[in-house]
Amino acid sequence: MFEDLTNKLEGIFKKIRGQGRLSEGNIKDALKEVRRALLEADVNYKVVKDFITQVETKAIGQEVLKSITPGQLVIKIVNDELTALLGRDKVDMKFSAQPPTVFMLVGLQGSGKTTACGKLARYYRKKGRFPLLVAADIYRPAAIDQLQILGKSLDIPVYTIKDDPIKISESAVEHARKEGKDLVIIDTAGRLHIDEPLMEELRKIKKAVSPQEIILVADAMTGQDAVNIAKTFEEKIGLDGIFLTKMDGDARGGAALSIRAVTGKPIKFVGVGEKLDALEMFYPDRIASRILGMGDVVSLVEKAQEAIDIEEAEKLEKKLRKEAFTLDDFYSQLQQLKKMGPLESVLEMIPGLGGASLKGLKIDDKAMVRVEAMINSMTKDERHKPHIIDGGRRRRIATGSGTSVQDVNQLLKQFFMMQKMIKNVTKMDMRKFEKGFLGFR
């Protein structure tokens, strides 16, 4: 996420750092490159222009000259301005005092509305709500089927009737009220912002159900037109927030900056994968630091807190104190790690890993699957007493898990090393240990 922009800005400021004090000339050079990087990141032309002017006014002048480390000050100014551009605070979704609350998702074709609906439903159910998904896309072939399949996989009800989108939405809200569902999420059809009849349809749905939140689902890969799209949706139906999708690719996500700057509407969620749990909140300040290559430690910690079961951790800690770390524990650690989402997105949040060093390093989620398969192919005895696994057993485990003896050897070698390491650190503070164990150093 934002990898390339981060790299570029890092490169530029390295130059400035080496030069001691800033001159008007070299900050102009740096800003020229910042401008280019932002344009390549698809930040809107006008937004870039304003941004550069602001940074320039703030950077050139006495403040900078007095500073001991001019590079740091420039980074701070760019960071502050980026944060301001993204909106300083995180904005939550509004809920109605009288349920059901209605969310309505709108956007162009192919921006990822249906998947976003599924993600929101899953997210809010986890928070204790009772969602109802509403299939109001009657145009695209199989759009209703798609939502129904998502609903089924989440075990969340999907409301479909044969009618026009306005009636569907209206009666869905009625249905939710009767069935005790407190959150209605309406999946509308993708449409061009200049398609007047379809925009009129959205206005009518809005009038019929008065949603608490109208969310524009926008593709992170969108170019300069992102601004027109967002502006038109805002003018014609009014928006409450943005759901930015496909941020797991290498899109530099400049659209996020532009949309926010031009419409003033907050980005509330970020989609980071095709799976329904691939959802992140949008924290403007953190993203700004991420752009500048300072990592996103807070997000990572929160993710870990959500996923890692405290009880499990305590159990493990006890075991460790008794120096009885087995392959079973290793396995449950893997499961915890998996809950945090795709490894790549976890690693991206780590300072120093987000940028250059992660490039080229491809995380193979399948390697974890192989390890799991090997452990699953072991007997109970073998898991508790790994040292009994001899040649014959290794062959059996390899065959059973569809791996090779070499793979099994490697796993065991790693495990024994880890056991040894754990013996040495048992006295260490548990939190420190977790950090080391997960390989995050």
């Binding site: 344009l39 192919g110 990822g112 890969m221 300069q224 690719g249």
Partner: protein, 303 residues
């Protein structure tokens, strides 16, 4: 398919209107070709998603051309700009129209660019030319992708090789090609699941689908079309690069040009990679598309 400049123009109307309107506005404000006018042109090009590098190249070209031909009348700038853009678009190469038998086309792209709709358009076009078309539903991942494709197949009246959710897409492709050979189909079009070009495993899967197609019929797939959304910004370059490296894309299908996005990324793409744009999509109906012709396109864009 007959080429209709009228249709292209009306489809590109918003695109054209903005671009041309802004250019003539800029030209109107300046009598001579000066730095200020060039700066304004730069802004127009960047706002059309042409990207900073290609824009710089075009502007440099304009300057050089204007100096060597001693042109300083700003009215002539549109003509110069048209030449520059057409010459970049031409560098993508031309489409070949020889069909193998059966002619196997594999359609790839990131999520949500419009692969399935584009396939329906292609299928209808081949059918209108009197070809027997078979569609293969190799998107076995996204919920209801198979249903979506089968509805389209029914609408345009072509046959479909269906699939089960999570079935190996390569096996679907294999079956479809074998069936096409046995039953004498002329064209096979394979839909694949949308995937971000940065997902190594999914890109490997695509390689496998291609390899297995070659096993079912030596030489297949004969064409690999990358579908790109015209709304895409500079990330389009990254998409082309990765898909080209993975499966050696032979052409680009640019979709959603009926919106307000200018599709300038296409100019950047042909500038950087030697891949021709073969088709453009101009709407949701099966007829809303055109074969791409660089000359016509530049013409429609600037006149």
């Amino acid at each position: 398919m007959k080429f209709s400049l009228e249709k292209l123009k009306s489809g590109l109307f918003k695109t054209k209107e903005n671009l041309l309107g802004k250019i003539s506005q800029a030209v109107g404000l300046h009598k001579k070709i000066d730095q200020e006018l060039l700066d304004e042109l730069e802004e127009i090009l960047i706002k059309s998603d042409v990207g900073p590098s290609t824009t710089a190249k075009i502007i440099e070209g304009l300057k050089k051309e204007a100096t060597t031909r001693k042109i300083d009348d700003s009215e002539k700038i549109t003509e110069l700009l048209k030449d520059q853009v057409a010459s970049i678009l031409n560098s993508g190469g031309v489409c070949e129209n020889q069909l193998a038998s059966p002619h196997v086309i594999m359609v790839v792209g990131v999520n949500g660019t419009g692969k399935t709709t584009s396939i329906a358009k292609l299928a209808k076009d081949f059918k209108d030319q009197g070809k027997n078309v078979l569609i293969a539903a190799c998107d076995t991942f996204r919920a209801a992708a198979g249903e979506q494709l089968s509805i389209w197949a029914e609408r345009v009246g072509v046959e479909l090789v269906g699939s089960m959710p999570n079935q190996d897409p390569a096996s679907v492709a294999f079956d479809a090609i074998k069936a096409a050979c046995a039953r004498g189909f002329d064209v096979v079009i394979a839909d694949t699941a949308g995937r971000l070009h940065t997902k190594v495993n999914l890109m490997e899967e695509l390689k496998k689908v291609k390899r297995v197609m070659g096993k079912a019929l030596p030489g297949a797939p004969h064409e690999i079309l990358l579908v790109i959304d015209a709304t895409t910004g500079q990330n389009g370059l990254s998409q082309v690069k990765m898909f080209k490296e993975t499966v050696d894309v032979t052409g680009i299908f640019l979709t959603k040009l009926d919106g307000t996005a200018k599709g300038g990324i296409m100019i950047a793409i042909t500038d950087e990679f030697n891949i021709p744009v073969k088709y453009i999509g101009l709407g949701e109906k099966p007829d809303d598309f055109q074969k791409f012709d660089p000359k016509w396109f530049a013409e429609a864009l600037f006149s």
